[in-house]
Symmetry: C2
Subunit: 422 residues, 2 copies
Amino acid sequence: MAGNAPPPQIVILGAGFAGLTAAKALKRAPVEITLIDRQNYHLFQPLLYQVATATLSPADIAVPVRSTLRDQENARVLLGSVESIDRDARMVHLADGREVPFDYLVVATGATHAYFGHDEWEPYAPGLKKIDDATEIRRRVLLAFEKAETEDDPEKRRALLTFVIVGGGPTGVEMAGAIIELARKTLVSDFHHIDPSSARVILAEAGPRILPAFAEELSAFATDSLRRKGVEVLCGNAVTDVGPKGVTLGGEDIGARTVVWAAGVKASPAARWLGVEGDRAGRVEVTESLTLPGEPRIFVVGDTAAAQWRDGVTVPGIAPAAKQMGAYAARAILADLKSRIIAPFHYRHQGNLATVGRQSAIVDFGRVRMKGFFAWLVWGAAHIYFLIGFRNRLIVMLHWIWAYVTLRQGVRLITGSTELPK
Amino acid sequence: MAGNAPPPQIVILGAGFAGLTAAKALKRAPVEITLIDRQNYHLFQPLLYQVATATLSPADIAVPVRSTLRDQENARVLLGSVESIDRDARMVHLADGREVPFDYLVVATGATHAYFGHDEWEPYAPGLKKIDDATEIRRRVLLAFEKAETEDDPEKRRALLTFVIVGGGPTGVEMAGAIIELARKTLVSDFHHIDPSSARVILAEAGPRILPAFAEELSAFATDSLRRKGVEVLCGNAVTDVGPKGVTLGGEDIGARTVVWAAGVKASPAARWLGVEGDRAGRVEVTESLTLPGEPRIFVVGDTAAAQWRDGVTVPGIAPAAKQMGAYAARAILADLKSRIIAPFHYRHQGNLATVGRQSAIVDFGRVRMKGFFAWLVWGAAHIYFLIGFRNRLIVMLHWIWAYVTLRQGVRLITGSTELPK
């Protein structure tokens, strides 16, 4: 009996929804887990736009990974960046030279924003994936109003008060709704020289309609709601240039000092680390068991994976899908340790949700569709419920109730530099 | 009747306790107030150490200045840095070229940390005055434990787990108490390779005892309390060098990757702007009416002023003193507008308070002195009471109760770079 053999080494890359779910699902397994992330926190990304628009604080939607796993004896947490993966030697190489051997590997490093080959746009149009992204966007949005207050040149003032959100998915819609409400409700009586409610908020979507993942009637409802709030929803034209002065949209130059990128994502460089070809979005194509073809002990899950759902459609890059994939990888590892095989991964789509401002949302559960205030309550309940850690749930609820009742957004702090990029 | 004469222009520099109190006290006055600050928020500095040690979020102790003054019709808020003051032309020049004329000027730009002629120490020993300082110190403290977890060299690991706080005033004492509790209570079971409770926390005070503003018995109580918690309280030796590897204290080199500067403050450059000689701490010496000698309409208040208290002792640099000075300046301006004169400024010292860790504090009201748990309740009540804005009070109380009950500090987020300075 090999009773003294070291327990199998499970290395999980990424402490997002997929990676953390996998780690937790292996809690009672006779294995040693190493969870590696570049950040020391797990982030509840669906509410990140509320940090970017000054309703929530970073700590409301982020928990230290160590804290989450402190009671899990078989898991250790490493702060580090992956440099490469040696599939033959079963070794992960980190950027600082450390090496982490594995028997099973779960790659769950998520996705980042993609500028469609125009990485030079990034300084002018930050995306929204990390906490530092959110505080940077918050800084720029708040600073734009501050600078407008003392700008005498009408054209420059106009550009300071113009906010362009590129991309009409849920993040873009939620950002546009939140910025228009910040301008028209929260800030409206804070300034003397400018009228914050005159701010232009433009939501630019290249496709024919916003929120294409939702049923057409819900998408139309969201468009109407945003327009009634004052957002200019412009579909059918791609942004062809982004620079310090604004964007070019459908051949027209729009002066805008604040641009937020919510248009495209690309997977983390997992395909490169694994030495395979990624798909168009950089994702790793996986088997029906979420493993790398030919590598039954290397799983790729969450936004990093291109997993088949139905009819050539891949599993969407949303939190519930990532959690399901992480849980599946854990179950598959447990089964393999007992020399068993489990059924292929089957994605159960629970639905799509998006808010359209402070009191309205759309919910698409397939057969059941909701919109407006009641859908917003469903959205709020679902997000509060899934927030990890009781403290955060309570505090976030209080923040929301406070913001809702008073129309004030309390987290209007400009941290870091008080200059806009030139 | 000069009914159409423009109202007197009151310019207030700085939105700290002194400046904001002055602005609010002029709420009903027939004047136009311009409040200028480099940041867009008013900061409740006495609790800043709790942001640096991961108990509170920045937004818990900061409120947007505009939000605070939104209902005050006669006040406008400008985000800007003072470049110079032209006393003859009655004009404030801002760094971006803007000019702000004044009839009355209230200079309340506070103080910053002073390195006693060793500004080269600053990168290695950040001070604690702004929100960005606090998140930077939080980042370094948390990152030191993370780096120690994967450091194989015992000497380097020792230096990563050694925290030196320079200066035994209230800020230094509070930081030392909070860091030792972070290490011994909050983080103790979060790590696998290192034992966070083995961290050394050194409080270095050059004078003969810590907390010299307090009665000797309270200072002795604080020293004992800190030592029982595990802090090394070292008095009587000045730090003579600070560098990337640590500090030199009493001729001895102490390896420490985290150093916090709580040793000295110097006033903001108000003396230079006003063209006068500052005192040793850079403060502007003021008349008994808190005005610049020879300038009855230029007030200097708060930490920027060297105001006489009694027997050649100046008014201390604490929040209640700043508020009293700000209120006095407003009263003096109101009186002057009616061609009246008010009695000289008289500082009423209410007492000194400092926490010594999670459940203990010292309170020195002169005749009434308290220490331990009951003093801690007094401290907590006083700080909650003086927090501006109900939302913050409630949220801060919840954070405290949560942290107290669970011993967890929820705001353990490493934001910004995940590298320590080389």
